[in-house]
């Protein structure tokens, strides 16, 4: 095989794995949007906040220590213990569930039947609040996250694929973390699909996503379902936060991965779970391949804008997205 083709394959593989993470973030958006009609601007900050909480718990950080020290003149920062990653992940999931409950209790319960734009504005407010709250709780310094996931290229894959090419080809470079992220994302999606198809709560969730009035009439509590989807979205954010945080540290820029989910949603449609997954993969592969093939000719740095332009072109021809339901105004 010519080396150029092999590199293209490697780029595609890496793109697929980057795309899986985009899918994951987009999935969080779709879940909340389907069930409640809320476009949750705070999804990215939720990923950041969950990653900060995870690091904080693992390191035995005292939450709100700056605040406590400022008020009481103390100087405490750490409990002096370390919590195993798996326990810390579970605790963080509990925190995200409490967050979901609080968000509904304090905000969205009072905004039932409001215009979508009002709900959207509320999530912008929520995003900035949560960002500040996270800093207050865990401090704003850049933290490194290590839950024990393997990192760096896989030598095994490199060694065993080197023979495919010629002298200049050293084998596929595949990041182990990307592989883990892919496996975890696939499992997570499978569990979510099984949940929504085969459990009572899943059926109720689909009912709420379809018609609020009808859902109420069969005895489903809307606020229960909303807390449930926000919790699931919080958990999805946590998984994305772990992967991203492990790779590039837990810092503000982590919340910007939400922006990568936007073109994915434009491509996949705001209400389609398969759309979020396929959309994420298309964006991931598309931007890596485009940079590889076309980037050198036009000066590179195409990854910053490629996804948006692709989504824009797509929007013009298919506004409802790949799998989105056709939008027909009810009269």
């Amino acid at each position: 095989m010519p080396d150029q083709l092999l590199y293209a394959i490697e780029v595609t593989l890496n793109g697929l794995m980057a795309g899986v993470l985009y899918s994951l973030v987009a999935l969080g958006f779709v879940l909340i949007f389907k069930a409640s009609g809320i476009f949750n601007y705070a999804q990215g900050v939720m990923a950041l906040f969950s990653a900060m909480t995870l690091v904080g718990i693992m390191d035995g950080q005292v939450p709100f220590s700056h605040l406590i020290n400022a008020i009481f003149g103390t100087d405490i920062h750490h409990f002096g213990w370390h919590v195993p990653a798996i326990v810390a992940i579970l605790l963080t999931a509990v925190v995200m569930t409490a967050f979901a409950w609080a968000v509904n209790q304090v905000i969205f319960k009072h905004l039932v039947n409001q215009e979508p734009i009002i709900l959207f504005m509320a999530t912008i407010g929520l995003a900035y609040f949560l960002e500040g709250f996270g800093d207050l709780m865990w401090g704003s310094d850049i933290k490194s996250l290590d839950v024990g996931l393997p990192q760096g290229g896989s030598f095994w894959i490199e060694e065993n694929t080197a023979w495919l090419g010629g002298e200049g080809f050293y084998g596929f470079f595949i990041d182990q973390l990307d592989m883990v992220a892919t496996v975890v994302a696939v499992i997570l999606v499978a569990v979510l699909v099984a949940f929504s198809q085969y459990t009572k709560q899943g059926r109720a969730l689909r009912a709420v996503a379809d018609d609020h009035q009808a859902a109420l009439s069969v005895g489903i509590s809307l606020s229960y379902i909303w807390v449930l989807v926000w919790s699931i979205a919080g958990f999805v954010a946590l998984v994305a936060g772990i992967m991203w945080g492990t790779k590039s540290g837990v810092q503000f820029s982590l919340s910007l991965i939400a922006l990568k989910a936007l073109p994915v949603l434009m491509l996949g449609g705001f209400t389609s779970i398969p759309g979020a997954i396929v959309g994420g993969l298309i964006v991931g592969v598309g931007e890596k391949l485009f940079e590889f093939l076309v980037g050198p000719m036009i000066g590179g740095a195409t990854e910053n804008w490629f996804a948006y332009v692709l989504a824009l072109i797509f929007l013009v021809f298919r506004p409802q997205g790949l799998f989105g339901e056709r939008i027909i105004e009810r009269v």
């Binding site: 459990t199 009572k200 709560q201 059926r203 109720a204 689909r206 009912a207 379809d210 018609d211 009035q213 009808a214 859902a215 109420l216 009439s217 069969v218 005895g219 489903i220 509590s221 809307l222 339901e325």
Partner: protein, 272 residues
């Protein structure tokens, strides 16, 4: 007809029981509009109770009060002999009151079978942890509920469309699926808002037959809103007549038919 607190016997010899639901001095306002003005009436165990009246009379509003979608500013709702606190619609549903809507509210993205299955949600008791840990129990519950649902689907003669997405069904069949979903809850009280609106004669006859059969076979108490007077006269045991938010008549179909206020309302005599 002799009416006592214990109940009464209908013209066709059915035994009607005591009061199941009682509305006491209900008043419901929307801003300046008073949709219901100080209305009281009761629904008895086992009866078919009709609510009739011209457009905008407040019939749907009354059904929405019973099912918890609207909350009256004044008045009390009594169910099973005790006063009901202000309840959310889902809590009312969990108490055994099922309903259909004037404008059909189905889960358009789901199949007929899945729509009807949602009617069983109030009867499914395993929680999320149990479903995750103890798959067998959840599965058994699903199978049991599925059997009940299949019976209802047979009963309403919609087997041939079991797997069809609801969005592809014609209007008349949608109404029937909505009835099936409400029935799946095995309600004590079934509320039907214009179950035959927009149907042709044949479909109306089918629907009438189903309503009578439901009442007869399951003993379900039914309150229904209907515009077709012929249908109302055939189906119902007692009728409440509303006009401009007020109750202007209450009694057997014959009594109501001969009530001057009712005749005036329907003939469009000018209101003063």
């Amino acid at each position: 007809m002799t009416e006592t607190s214990e109940g009464y016997t209908t013209a066709d010899g059915r035994q009607i029981g005591g009061v199941l639901m009682e509305m006491k001095n209900i008043t419901l306002r929307f801003g300046g509009v008073t949709a219901i003005k100080d209305i009281s009436f009761d629904i008895r165990e086992g009866e078919i109770r009709a609510i009739i009246g011209p457009n905008g009379a407040g019939k749907s509003s009354m059904l929405n009060v019973i099912s918890g979608f609207y909350h009256p500013q004044e008045g009390e709702v009594w169910f099973h002999g005790s006063k009901r606190p202000a309840m959310k619609p889902y809590q009312v549903a969990q108490q055994g009151i099922a309903r259909t809507f004037q404008n059909i509210a189905l889960f358009e993205g789901m199949s007929v079978l899945n729509n009807v299955m949602t009617g069983r949600l109030t009867h499914m008791t395993t929680n999320m942890a149990q479903q995750a840990m103890w798959w067998g129990k959840a599965e058994r519950e699903e199978v049991e509920n599925r059997e009940i649902v299949e019976k209802i689907i047979d009963f309403l003669e919609i087997q041939h469309i079991r797997k069809t997405p609801v969005s592809r069904l014609p209007y008349g069949l949608k109404k029937r699926v909505e009835l099936a979903r409400a029935l799946a809850a095995e309600p004590k009280l079934l509320l039907l808002d214009e179950p035959m609106a927009g149907m042709n004669v044949e479909e109306k006859e089918d629907m009438s037959r189903f309503i009578l059969d439901v009442n007869d076979e399951f003993g379900t108490t039914i309150a229904l809103i209907e515009h077709d007077m012929g249908v109302v006269m055939d189906l119902s045991d007692r009728v409440v007549v509303m006009d401009y938010g007020k109750k202007i008549g209450d009694g057997t179909p014959d009594e109501v038919r001969n009530n001057q206020d009712v005749i005036d309302a329907y003939l469009g005599v000018a209101h003063d």
